[in-house]
Amino acid sequence: MDGFAAFGIVGLTTAAVYAVIGSGLVLTYVTTGVFNFAHGAAGMMAAFAYWQLSAGWGWPVPVALAVVLLVLAPAFGLLAERALFGPAQRLGQAERLVMTVALLSGLIALARWVWDPNVPRPLPTFFAGRAPLRLGPATVTWHQGLTMVVAVAVAAGLWVLLHRTRTGAEMRATVDDRTLVVLAGGDPVRASRAAWILGTQLAALGGILIAPTVTLDAAQLSLLIVSAYTAAVFGRLRSLPLTFLGAAVVGCTESYLTGYLPQNAYLPGLRLAAPALLLFLALLAFPHRRLRGSDERAGRAPVPAWRGTALLAAAIVAAGTVLAAVLGEGDLVTYGPVFSLGLVALSYVPLAGYAGQISLCQLSMAGVGAVVWAHLGADGAWWALGAAVAVAALAGALVALPALRLSGVYLALGTAAFAVVLDRWIFTLPSFEVLGVRIALFDQGSVELAGPRLFGHRLDGGAELMVLAAVCLALATVAVAALRRSRYGRRLVALRDSEAAYATLGGGLLVAKVAVFALSAGIAGLGGALYGMQLRSVTADQFSLVAGLPVFLVAVIGGLGAIGCGLFTGTAYIGPVNLLVALAPGSQNLVALLPGLAGLGLARNPDGLIPAMRAGVRRLAQGLTARRGESEVPVEWWGVRRPWRPEDGEVLARGIAGS
């Protein structure tokens, strides 16, 4: 019984932190419409900054706290609003989502750069010297008590702010109707700013409270947030009381799993994966949404011409051959992933580019492919490559099931949760038997991958594998182009543009969605198997959610609707990074930041660089100069922040007619 109470206290303490962070997330989401994937990363940065000031530079704790919570966090929130999400107001939800993912990825890279991950950074708990309080059978440390008191204070404070002040009313009004706020003489931008500042402060508070009880690690801390996301999803991203309730459920589940889960080799990962599993379940428990109309801006999905596709495929093979010929064995390992990771990026084209399904677990699918090849393809049989593709496709079809119920932010969250479950639990499992079949994964370490056999000859050299990967990428590129030109490709685009119209024409959503998830997971699985072969030995870490984010970002930057996305991503992700590192060995951390930084620039080029590059070439050819017509001023500020122009009314009317 004592144990039960003790684990309950631990659970509620963690829950308090999740509640604080989750309520910040809800606050920003309802006021600005941006679901901030980087919310946890902001908390992580705050924890590091607090460590730096208090432990690193020895500032007194109250001063360090004040600086982080009252100066740094608000400044960060304001900067995020002003520089990133204010200008992104006119973008679609998908682009804003990508920007927050970019921020998440960038902040993790930045933290790892500034604070060397190999140095341990212990933080003392608050009031560490005081004797714990005894409440009946349970013991509560002062730190735990403080955490819970802070959560209660945050709950009360938020309630008063939102329901008893004009600023709070304006924040809630901004959610309902920005234009009407302007008509009432209010200022939606001010409300957004207040929400960003407060949201970031809450994230910082949560980060500082939890940091002393866990390892201070950038990725771990940022992803602790999965639990806070789960809490927020319990509150349907709207209700603060339900968010607090959700936090309690998640916190206690984690704590009791730690306490009462039987000790064996298979289950420790389950505790780590529990918040992600709960997130998955909470998302699935969402009410069935109605069929979506064409309310969001969709990216482009041009029909690739056969000639251009053939040229692109030839260029890929040629590049592979040349690289294989000129690079030494060491460089081949470094630059090899150009084509295999290119395949992973290409898998986004049918899935996200055509069908509009944003998935954050494509690299996990690649991991599945790599594992299957490692175990089945040890003697280089080609059928094993087929099996790698098939098993990855099967896993993809599994992800598709929640996708039938989810879209947009929720789908991205669901796939992220899926990736985390794989990272923390499935990929860490030792081998096990199901129905007499032994299933092995990463064997709790690394697995070796060999090359396949061709006409009795083993393709094992780096050069041979590079050519193989290039050929595979070229073939897959042609296949995706053929897909876009086919009946099925048209259906995918149609499905994304208007589900309601597609369904009322007799199109089945189930088959189309499951098929596109399976197809793209299969492509990613092939990429993963090749990636593994080129690296010769891989660990689960190389296929984690955090590792997958930069690939996704670079693919988005390239343009998800373009078949050149694969080659672009491979080249842009692997090429400059390694070149820079080779030229200036100290710049490794800087280049890790690049995908994040570039993703943040998405507001300028929502369709990606490939279409922009093609348009640029066309303009050059025609000798025309292009003028950027679009204004950066949000629509409700036309006539206020910049002069009202005669054509504005028409633009507005068109926007309204089109909405």
Partner: protein
């Protein structure tokens, strides 16, 4: 006195002209009804008057002064208040908070609430409810109350009656007439005449961007509208 006057106003959507020289006036203390079928240009006329849609020709006069092409915020400050089609309320805010949102206009919360609840006692009874849970008629009352909080000189109402039961509409228009009697120039756009004819002092019928009929709402108007809406089988 004509508070709002449109002279030969032309306007276009997507390069297609939808208003071909509309003349229209709204006088203080009067309710003016602008009627006509869908797509005739009624909403565009209101939007031009409120400054949120540009006029491609003609002039908009406010209190005799030229206000053509003025910024919508300047017009709002000058007392032009547009209550757009649909419900001009924040559904997730309580009635009280909806009114609170109008305090930026220089009046205190107490003044606004007192005026609103005096005019629409039903709002006082549901002051703590979310606007989204009110009936359609109550939401329109709240929208009107919000509109009046700014002490407008010109009130532009777009399809106040949409989706509401006739009895509710009749009560709303009694309030509109009352508002006009206090000296506000009210311009009402309605696709269907039933609702507004009881209280309108003047009416105009807009067909394909032109004023096809104007005058006092009487039997001549009914005949005109009957032919226009229901026509006769060709």
């Amino acid at each position: 006195m004509n508070v709002l006057e449109l002279r030969g106003v032309r306007a276009a959507h997507d390069g297609i002209t939808v208003l071909h020289g509309v003349d229209l006036t709204a006088a203080a203390g009067r309710v003016t009804a602008l009627l006509g079928p869908n797509g005739a240009g009624k909403t565009t006329t209101l939007r031009v008057a409120a400054g949120v849609h540009p006029a491609s020709g003609g002039r908009v006069l406010l209190g005799g002064r030229d206000a053509t092409g003025a910024d919508p915020r300047a017009l709002a400050r000058a007392g032009v208040r547009l209550i757009p089609e649909g419900r001009g309320v924040f559904p997730n805010l309580t009635v009280r908070d909806n009114l609170l949102m109008m305090t930026r206009t220089g009046r205190t919360r107490e003044e606004i609430e007192e005026a609103a609840f005096a005019r629409f006692p039903v709002l006082a009874r549901c002051a703590a409810r979310h606007a989204g849970t009110l009936s359609g008629g109550e939401q329109q009352m709240l929208a009107l109350a919000r509109g009046l909080a700014t002490d407008p000189a010109v009130l532009l109402l777009d399809e106040l009656s949409m989706g509401l039961a006739p009895l509710v509409v009749a009560r709303l228009y009694e309030q509109v007439a009352e508002i006009a009697r206090q000296g506000v120039a009210v311009l009402v756009v309605e696709q269907f005449a039933a609702a507004v004819l009881g209280v309108a002092d003047r009416a105009a019928v807009l067909v394909r961007g032109r004023v096809a009929w104007r005058g006092r709402p009487d039997d001549g108007l009914r005949a005109e509208l009957s032919a226009l809406y229901l026509g006769s089988p060709r």
